[in-house]
């Protein structure tokens, strides 16, 4: 069975918080890498069960999706 955090689905709806922080920090002139680290940190706060690598992957997908749309 695939956990929610593995599938990238967001039953706890933290996606808005993750992408909001990323977007705000980038707009404030922070380096993209720092904004990304902050986004991953928020994700891991909501999903402490997620392995660091998996969390980074989910956040990357969410950010990429936000960039495309």
């Amino acid at each position: 069975m695939t956990d929610d955090w593995e599938s990238g689905e967001d039953p706890c709806r933290c996606r808005d918080a993750v992408t909001r922080a990323y977007r705000t920090l980038c707009e404030a002139g922070q380096a993209e890498s720092r904004a990304y680290e902050a986004a991953v940190r928020i994700y891991r706060f909501h999903h402490p069960e997620a392995a660091p690598g998996a969390a980074a992957g989910v956040v990357e997908r969410w950010i990429d999706a936000g960039t495309v749309h």
Partner: protein, 137 residues
């Protein structure tokens, strides 16, 4: 409006298209570009900008203390936007980013570095938190 541009307006600097362009280049720079680099980056956005305009604008911004001029061990100066130093508190639940400044914190960082035998050159700090619940009284 970008932060640096707002500060220029507040300082009474008339905003022309080319000045705005130069401010954009400075605001986006992650390094300390010299005049030629600012000129090249600006020209990539608008080919009509002249190096004389870049020189004059950077000089004016320097005079007004709106950019920081670095004279490294070179024959030319490098510039960066002189933005107010601030930190971020990030709300873990909502993703809201709150900018703040704190003089005590600035002094504390300097003191820690000095105690360890260093001059503080740079640092990195973000606060993460969640809103405190109001206690029933």
């Amino acid at each position: 409006m970008i932060d640096l541009e707002q500060r220029c307006v507040d300082a009474g600097l008339k905003m022309t298209g080319q000045r705005r362009l130069i401010l954009q280049v400075l605001s986006e720079a992650q390094d300390h570009p010299n005049v030629e680099t600012v000129f090249e980056r600006a020209r990539n956005i608008d080919s009509s900008v002249s190096i004389a305009t870049v020189y004059r604008t950077l000089h004016l911004l320097d005079e007004m203390n709106l950019v920081q001029r670095h004279d490294f061990n070179e024959n030319y100066s490098r510039f960066e936007a002189n933005l107010d130093h601030h930190h971020h508190l990030i709300d873990l639940e909502t993703g809201r980013v709150i900018e703040f400044q704190d003089e005590e914190l600035e002094e504390l960082k300097e003191r820690i570095a000095a105690r360890l035998g260093y001059d503080l050159v740079d640092h990195r700090l973000e606060l993460y938190g969640r809103k405190m619940k109001k206690s029933a009284s």
